[in-house]
């Protein structure tokens, strides 16, 4: 479980995140949604410690992450897997080396064990026989899958995904969403996904946090999203005709 308390962040005097508190539950796919520029990614980076919040605290299973010393932070971060928007694969390393990287740095597994684990993770995300390929030789969807494989290779307790289906076709987006959901259920991890894709919201959103202009305006489930009574959320959700027809039903 991840708990955030009163997180605020400003850049050059401009407030991007205003006093956000929430709890992301273990074993659930928690979604942070909102339009572009509402501070979703900034909030995610505050949670994983890539950006230090101006105020507020992040707790990982009761452990204060924000005010922890560097060693403690590194310790908690080793329990984190993260899928970045562009995959963030290391250009100079092959797919296998990318997935194996956390094992090389963070574990003392034997080479054979590492290979087995890498192959297991690649198979889990539906990739086989791509071990020797370089990131530049694979498609965007495959990069995302490799990113997921790298994120889960060290058995994380927390999985973060920043816009996992940006730049992907609808079919691949659904596959990535399903994969994230399956992995969350299978390993019982706490997953936080930042997205503005309503297909993801309706597909995998178990708990949804809606941000508007850096403020938390609503939280609930995907079933409750249609009856939120929040105008800004309605404007965000029902922008396309498919969603409008769903609302009418």
């Amino acid at each position: 479980m991840i708990e955030i308390q009163n997180i605020s962040k400003s850049f050059e005097g401009k407030a991007v995140i205003h006093n956000i508190s929430d709890v992301f539950e273990k074993g659930k796919t928690n979604l942070i949604i909102g339009a572009s520029g509402t501070g979703k990614s900034v909030l995610l980076k505050c949670i994983v410690g890539l950006i230090h919040p101006d105020t507020g605290t992040v707790f990982y299973d009761g452990r204060n992450f924000t005010d922890a010393d560097k060693e403690m932070k590194a310790e908690i971060r080793r329990e984190i897997g993260m899928l970045f928007q562009g995959g963030a694969l290391f250009d100079s390393k092959s797919v296998e080396q990318n997935v194996m990287f956390p094992l090389n740095i963070l574990t003392k597994m034997s080479p054979a064990e590492k290979i087995d684990r890498v192959n297991f993770c690649l198979k889990r995300v539906g990739l086989e026989n791509v071990n020797s390929k370089m990131p530049s030789e694979i498609s965007g969807g495959m990069k995302k899958r490799v990113g997921i494989a790298r994120a889960i290779v060290n058995n994380p307790n927390y999985l973060f995904c920043d816009e996992p289906n940006s730049g992907l076709d609808p079919q691949t987006s659904i596959l990535i969403d399903e994969l994230i959901k399956e992995i969350t259920d299978e390993f019982g991890i706490t997953t936080v996904v930042v997205t503005h894709d309503m297909n993801s919201v309706m597909g995998i959103g178990e708990k949804i946090l809606f941000l508007f202009q850096g403020r938390k305006l609503w939280e609930g489930t995907k079933e409750e999203i249609f009856h939120s009574g929040v105008e800004e959320l309605d404007n965000f959700v029902f922008t396309n005709k498919v969603m409008q027809s769903l609302k009418k039903k």
Binding site: K70, E71, K73, I76, F84, G86, A88, F90, D91, I105
Partner: protein, 242 residues
């Protein structure tokens, strides 16, 4: 001053939360190949021609029958050891290796690869930068030695083939009034320059913000700042050590 302060903090961050020595051993070896081995051809080529041109130009300026011919190679030797090999080659090093380091780290920054390392609990500065700095400190003095040898050989070839100076005079001039300390001085300079170029270039690349355009800007800034730092350090070292 703010930038200098950030640079010093950056240097300090290279030595905290380091990974295992085994990890660095492999990384340093890889960087030595990139920084050193892959620079050999360029350094040899440039320094050979610089040595050759220095010989021709020195001979052109020493036309007096009262000045013995071996002074030509004597001048070439002093110029090569004191300035051409360590300092001029540092400018080449900044252009080739420094810009590459900066571009590499800048690209890693904007494509979130550095963030990925941080999220894994790895000190990205130490993991990415320290091997480059160590490799530069190790390899640049070797490249300077190579450059010095190539420049003197280049001077010898051009001087003897064109008849500017006889082989005997050239060798005699190289050995005449030789002060070994100049080599020590050149090597001290090369250690400092290797550190300055690699750390400044990495600093510029590591803190790149924006996109592809900013990566190019960072690479340019890495080279210009490194060159300025090298020239200032060159003057200070000459004042202090000569």
């Amino acid at each position: 001053m703010k930038g200098f302060g950030r640079y010093m903090i950056f240097l300090g961050s290279l030595f905290v939360r380091r990974e295992s020595l085994g990890t660095y051993y492999t990384l340093v070896l890889e960087e030595c190949i990139i920084v050193g081995v892959k620079s050999i051809f360029l350094f040899a080529l440039v320094s050979t021609f610089v040595g050759a041109v220095t010989t021709v130009q020195t001979a052109y300026n020493l036309v007096s029958p009262l000045v013995p011919k071996y002074i030509i190679s004597n001048v070439v030797r002093e110029m090569t050891i004191l300035e051409l090999a360590p300092t001029i080659m540092a400018l080449i090093f900044a252009g080739k290796v420094g810009s590459s380091m900066s571009g590499n780290l800048g690209t890693m920054r904007i494509t979130e690869q550095i963030d990925a390392l941080e999220v894994m609990g790895i000190n990205s500065a130490s993991y990415l930068v320290l091997p480059k700095v160590i490799a530069s400190i190790l390899m640049y003095p070797m490249l300077v030695i190579l450059s010095g040898v190539c420049a003197l050989v280049g001077g010898f070839l051009v001087g003897t083939v064109t008849g500017i100076i006889s082989p005997t005079d050239y060798i005699y001039g190289l050995r005449f009034s030789f002060n070994e300390y100049t080599v020590t001085f050149a090597l001290i300079k090369s250690l400092v320059f290797g550190l300055l170029i690699s750390s400044i270039s990495c600093f510029k690349g590591y803190y790149t913000k924006g996109g592809a355009f900013e990566v190019g800007v960072a690479s340019t800034a890495a080279v210009t700042t490194s060159v300025m730092a090298v020239l200032i350090a060159d003057y200070l070292l000459a004042q202090l050590l000569l």
